[in-house]
């Protein structure tokens, strides 16, 4: 990554950096909202904007962005996924840091975009895709690895349990970063989730191609969440959360799904 140089060439440095003295000072972040957040859960990317700006970053949202294409790729529609791969590489090319509030979409970008580009045999596309996908980070990776913070100054006086989504752990490999971020939130009680490493059963189009198995898995996940006595179930992926939350809502469980970013953006006097 040639961070500072590229940034300087793209964007004239402000005379006074409004983030001065904060961890994100001098860093411009391109927010990849992801299509599901953009369309269904706008509160999550809004929380990312507020969190990153609070930490001193400059946030941009390139309006040409659409989707990582995972739903096409994982269903076997490789040709149909390709326009999203080209679009992603083009839209995010100018940025050093591309940050998304989704381990799954980040995993798809880093893991699948190069494979899809390779299929075209277009070397220049492969190179462009590799360059941009390598700079794509999950929010938790950006906070912990790039900004070097685990205490983001958040306040969230609630009992929560965290479900580590499969693709965030096994594809994007965010590890324990989300836990470390949650542990530092003031007022929070984080309760361990039993059988946390088992899939919730969402699985993208699996949730509608095999709805019975998907719901059987979701029901078990929901029961484990309820066992914790938490008010909120937290993940770094709203897609899985839509499934777990959908089961919890149907059961009138009184447990709310919430994205990690929304907790991290919460402050004294501004929390759910």
């Amino acid at each position: 990554m040639t961070g500072e140089n590229l940034e300087a060439s793209v964007r004239p440095t402000a005379i006074t950096d409004p983030g001065a003295g904060r961890p994100g000072a001098g860093k411009t972040v391109a927010l990849f909202a992801t299509c599901i957040n953009d369309t269904m859960f706008p509160q999550t990317p809004k929380a990312v904007v507020s969190l990153l700006e609070r930490l001193g970053c400059r946030v941009e949202f390139p309006l040409g962005q659409t989707c990582c294409g995972q739903m096409f790729t994982n269903t076997g529609f490789f040709d149909e996924a390709l326009p999203t791969v080209r679009r992603y590489a083009e839209v995010f090319a100018p940025y050093d840091y591309i940050v998304a509030p989704s381990g799954s979409c980040v995993g798809s970008v880093r893991d699948q975009h190069p494979m899809l580009a390779e299929r075209t045999g277009d070397r220049s596309l492969v190179e462009r895709v590799r360059a941009v996908t390598a700079r794509t980070l999950d929010l938790s990776e950006f906070l912990v690895d790039v900004l070097g913070v685990t205490d983001v100054g958040a306040y969230f006086p609630h009992r929560v349990t965290y479900h580590p989504t499969c693709h965030s752990v096994r594809v994007a490999k965010v590890g324990d970063r989300p836990y470390r971020l949650l542990q530092e939130v003031r007022g929070i009680t984080v309760v361990p989730l039993p059988a946390a490493d088992q899939c919730c059963g969402f699985g993208g189009t699996f949730s509608v191609k095999n709805p019975d198995v998907s719901v059987a898995m979701g029901a078990d996940k929901a029961h484990h969440v309820m066992e914790t006595g938490a008010e909120f179930v937290v993940t770094g992926d709203n897609s899985c959360l839509m499934h777990i939350g959908g089961v919890l809502s149907r059961l009138n469980s009184g447990i709310r799904p919430i994205h990690l970013a929304e907790i991290l953006a919460s402050t004294e006097g501004a929390h759910p």
Binding site: M40, F41, L63, A81, P83, N210
Partner: protein, 505 residues
């Protein structure tokens, strides 16, 4: 397994010698989701599976965790198997030479029918009308027991779980623990009902305690071991350097079969080759720890050819292809042939844990079955085209695979093949139309924005409860059991435009 319906022959009049398996065959099974729906309703099976897979997962995690460099061992296993697959032609010939030199006979079978014919002829030549069997996936794959039954030869399974399955007129539902879907009270009932019809009966007052059940099986089987002139086995490994076959087992039934009879016939997939005896160092660590969760399995039997002295004098191996060269010729698919049948992927799989093995319509169920079976049989039937989709792609299988088969990646590649195959259909499916439309929309942010405006418009007329309850088809696939949040009044990008770009949304 591709059993064809039985031709009405004179065999019809003859009484079966072994318990009949279920009527329905794997051929023509409906797509996975239908089998899965039935399996999910089997509450007893779900409880049995949850208990059994949970126990074995914990055992595996403990014995894998104590190996200093498990990742290094996995990579070593992967490397050896990749070398085998890259040079299978020469290793197989080397194995044949060595096995023959040691006094054994090598047979080659391109498919299940040919393998069954070879084995049946070999058994007939001995004059025997029954065989004892070591647990073997290869013989399950070719449905050897039924081929022998058709020839008037009784094949007796001697592995405890295979015996339970056979006596229960059932099919295996797991690679390693074929009766995993049964609990001990079910086993007791099967033994009481069936054992006496095929040999020594179970004691009438038998309880469901594991020692009593195992005791009844031991007595029932001993009679067959002592009488048998012919044994049939598979093999876990075939060592090219020496022509040695290796069977790894837990109960000692294998050792009985491999040593007592005069004739030994082993049916072995061509991918079971290991280059040298030294390679066993890797695999005899990887296999028991991954499969039964043991540091070392109780019995490891190795034999090299036949000959005089103790043990079988007449020793054969039938090397079967049966679709393996199809997989071998495929860039991604080939890695599935590294599989050593440990079943760690089944035990960790959240889908397998809930539906069990029968729903997969294949002798190889679970994640490995979902990638192996469509390659061995081809993506022609409904069940085989649905298997690559029988996974949430959670990736737990890849994490535990001792030879690092990237099953999620293989599943995605096979899904692509299914899509490609269906794209040649004259009329595009609803699925194709939906994905083509979505692709068009996602190619341009303006189109996505337009779709979001529709969602926002819908949200204004929807009830203010915050979520949507049951909806009509096709949304019912989601909403039958799950609520859906109402779409927001404003998409993120509209908010952004309003707040940051000063533009109208």
């Amino acid at each position: 397994m591709t059993r064809v319906p039985k031709q009405p022959t004179v065999a019809v009049a003859r009484k079966r010698r072994t318990p009949a398996p279920p009527e329905e065959t794997f051929l023509g099974m409906p797509a996975f989701r239908h089998g899965a729906k039935n399996a999910l309703a089997n509450t007893q099976q779900r409880r049995n599976l949850r208990h059994a897979t949970g126990t074995i997962r914990a055992k595996r995690a403990a014995v894998v965790g104590e190996v200093a460099d498990w990742e290094g061992l996995r990579r070593a296993g992967e490397d050896v198997k990749n070398d085998v697959l890259a040079h299978l032609d020469s290793y197989l010939v080397q194995f044949e030479e060595q096995f023959t030199k040691a006094g054994g006979t090598v047979h080659w079978a391109s498919d299940a029918d040919e393998a069954n014919r070879i084995v049946t002829d070999l058994v007939r030549a001995t004059g025997a009308d029954e065989v004892v069997k070591v647990k073997s996936m290869a013989t399950q794959e070719i449905d050897l027991n039924e081929a022998l039954e058709d020839a008037g030869i009784a094949a007796w399974e001697t592995d405890l779980a295979e015996l339970i399955v056979q006596l229960g007129h059932d099919r295996p539902s797991h690679i390693l623990v074929p009766a995993i879907h049964r609990n001990r009270s079910e086993v007791r009932e099967i033994f009481l009902e069936e054992m006496g019809r095929y040999g020594t009966a179970a004691p009438g007052d038998i309880s469901d305690s594991p020692p009593e059940l195992a005791g009844a099986a031991r007595i029932h089987l001993r009679e067959k071991f002592l009488r048998a002139k012919v044994a049939i086995s598979g093999a876990n490994f075939a060592v090219a350097e020496t022509g040695t076959l290796v069977v790894v087992e837990s109960e000692g039934n294998g050792r009985m079969c491999l040593t007592l009879p005069e004739t030994l016939i082993s049916v072995v997939g061509i991918e079971k080759i290991l280059p040298s005896v030294a390679d066993l160092e890797i695999f005899l660590q990887l296999l028991p720890r991954s499969s039964t969760g043991e540091r070392m399995n109780p019995y490891t039997s190795m034999w090299t050819g036949g000959g005089s002295g103790d043990g079988p004098h007449d020793v054969h191996v039938v090397l079967i292809d049966n679709g393996r060269t199809n997989a071998l010729g495929r860039l991604h698919g080939r890695s599935a042939l590294r599989c050593i049948r440990c079943s760690a992927c089944l035990n960790i799989c959240p889908v397998y844990e809930r539906v069990g093995g029968h729903a997969y319509g294949s002798v190889y169920p679970g994640p490995i079955g979902a990638v192996l079976t469509p390659q061995l049989r081809g993506i022609t039937s409904d069940i085989d085209a649905s298997l690559p989709y029988a996974s949430s792609l959670c990736g737990a299988c890849f994490e535990v695979c001792p030879v690092r088969i990237d099953i999620p990646e293989l599943l995605v590649q096979l899904r692509h093949e299914v899509v490609e195959k269906k794209s040649h259909a004259r009329v595009p499916s609803a699925n194709q139309a939906i994905f083509a439309g979505a692709s068009w929309m996602m190619a341009d942010a303006r189109r996505l924005t337009a779709a979001q405006k529709l969602a926002s418009a819908a949200s204004r007329i929807l009830p203010k409860s915050g979520h949507l309850g049951p909806l009509p088809w096709p949304m019912s696939k989601w909403s039958n059991a799950r609520d859906l949040p109402n779409p927001p009044a404003e998409s993120f990008r509209d908010w952004w435009k309003r707040e940051h770009e000063g533009g109208r949304p």
